[in-house]
Every structure is written in structure tokens, then in C-alpha cells.
Symmetry: C2
Subunit: 177 residues, 2 copies
Amino acid sequence: MNTAEATERLLEAAEDLFYAQGVQSVGMDAVRSRSGVSLKRLYQVFPSKDDLVAAYLNTRDERWRRSLREFVAARGDDPLAVFDWLHKWFSEPDFRGCAFVNSFGEFGTLAPGVAAAIHNHKDEVRAYLRRLVADDDLANQLFSLMEGATVLAAIKGDPGEAGTARAAAATLLAARR
Amino acid sequence: MNTAEATERLLEAAEDLFYAQGVQSVGMDAVRSRSGVSLKRLYQVFPSKDDLVAAYLNTRDERWRRSLREFVAARGDDPLAVFDWLHKWFSEPDFRGCAFVNSFGEFGTLAPGVAAAIHNHKDEVRAYLRRLVADDDLANQLFSLMEGATVLAAIKGDPGEAGTARAAAATLLAARR
DNA sequence: ATCGCGGGAGAACGTTCGTTCTCCCTGGTG
DNA sequence: CACCAGGGAGAACGAACGTTCTCCCGCGAT
């Protein structure tokens, strides 16, 4: 097994485990078992758990935003499509909320690499929304709705929060015309 | 020191430490040191850390909701006052987001006592908003805005998120008239 | 004064976890 | 075939943590 494949398998295992159970309750041994990559190799690729966590967050950020971007683009960049995508996401069987918000809950401002990844993710999403609606205030309001819907859907296990936020977003969009 | 005072001091220490640093990274020794209550007494009052955590969340829930309720009542139960209260909360120097959302990030659905406390808190807040606006759909939308603003204010350290959510709430309220 | 007991301080125990080390096998090279 | 660099499996190590245990003191009852 070469380094590239080991990296890929490690990130896949880390994402599955960290997202499902939280970072702190997953040991490096669990990552080794699920990935099939030896501990020695693991520590060659990611010298510490912090490095693995940062890499997990950054790869998840990119996949998550790409999925959202492509879905919305296929709907002619309609801002309301964002909330339809949220509904789809919330309905996935292993949905457990925003990985970045959850990690913030676990680490707060303590771990610098983690905090940087969280900030970067939220900044990128906000910038995307601003491009989508071309109105910074409105974009910020939609962002708040997105985050709130995600948190509540995760806690309640109810994808319907996406519909609530969508209706609010529709009202906000209509008020700007 | 009697049991009642020990309980009070333990809960105060637990809340300070758990909220500031997260539950998992605070050991029972730290709670003992800050509270000045011996370990023996600690385990008499709270037989396990889980019990202490559940008690922490439940006392925090009650204080938090009472503070919100009283503030909004003093403004004639104006729903927008909710967001002014949020701004005040976000501006506190030790603000670190919603304790319940953070705990959800740490424990997910794993710890039953914790999960129950989280559900209870969110249900109570939602019920309060429904009483305030007498329109369930609108209440749910405002709830989403509240949660989103809280998450973003915590991550960015910016109390201004309350103003963004307030503006959105004003638009939603106006649209219902 | 003596006894007994509840409580304080903190050592101790067993487990878990991040990280490193040991041992052995493999496979390519001369 | 001899050799050795590298990697796999997992033991080992040191720290941290939840929980329990030991030891001792002080105080109320007899």
C-alpha cells in the first residue's frame, strides 16, 4: 500500500468515525482498525491526532461545499435551492449536524488547527451565500437560518427544520424585491 | 459544610468549568479544586460524572430561560426583544455559544441523560417562543434564527450576529401582519 | 476522657489513549 | 544466496481520568 492510498483510507475512516461519534471519543486505534492502515504508517502521514483532525475537517469542508454548490447550480443558482439541499442532507441516515459546529463544541477555541478549519469553513460558506444573493445583509440572514436549521435538525432528528428555514428564507427574499 | 452548600458550590464550579472548556476536557479533580468540595462529598452528591453533567445542564437551562423570559417581559413581551437579549448574552466576556449545542457536539446521542437535557431545553425554548408569537410556524422560524445567530456568534466571536438575526426577525414579523 | 463516626485530603487503582518501540517478515538488489 | 531498507502487527510506555480507598482529624454522645 502506497502513501497516497493510505492517506485516502485514513481520511475516509477518520471522517466516518469522527463525524459519527465525535473526535474525542474515537481513538487512534479505531482509525487504524477501520482504515486497515498500520499505526506506524498513520503517524508517518499524520504526525499527531491534531493533524488528522485538521485534515478531516478540511477535506469534509471541500466535499460539503462542492455538493451544495453543484446542487444549487443545477437549480439555476436559486437561493431557495440551498434549503432543499439542506433537507436532502438532513435526511441522510447518518446525519449528525454540522461537523464544524460539533467540533467547536468539543474543542472551543482551545485547539488552534481545529479552530482555523472551523473559521475557514464558515467564512467560505458565508462568501458563497454572498455571491448567490449579491446582498451581504440578506446573505448573513440566510446563513443564520441555515445554521439554526442544521443545529435543530441534528438535535431533534427532524429534517423538517429545512422546510421551516426555507419558508423564512422565501419571506426574506420576497421582502428584498 | 452541609450538603446543600456543597451541591451549590459544585454546580457553580461545574458550570464555570464545563461551559468554558467543554465537559470532556474537565476532570473531576478540577471540579473539586474549584468548588473546594472533597471528592468523597462530590461522589455522595453526584454518584458519577454523568449525573453532574446532567445537573449542570438542567440548572443552566433554568437560569438561562428565566433570564430571557424576564428580559423580554420587561419589554412588554416584544418578540424582537429576544434578539436584544441575545446581543447582551453574546457580549458577555465568557460567552462560548449554547451549552446544549456544545454538549451535543461532545456527546451526540451517546449519553442518554445528556441527550434528554438537551431535548428538554430546546423543547422549552420553542414552547416559549410559541407563546410569545402565537403562531407556531413563525415561532419555529424565529427559533432557527436564534440558534443560527448563537452558533455563528460563538464561532466568530461577534455579537453582531444578533443584529443580523433581529433584522430578519423584524422582516418575518412584518410579513405576518 | 473515651469512643465512634462523618468528613477532608489525597494516594491508589484500573482503564483508556496518544505515541513510540520491538520484533519479524518481505521483497528488491548485489 | 546474503543483505538490508521498510513496513505490518501489536506490545509497551507515560499521562490523564473516573472512581474508590486509606488515613487521620475533630466533634458530639456517653
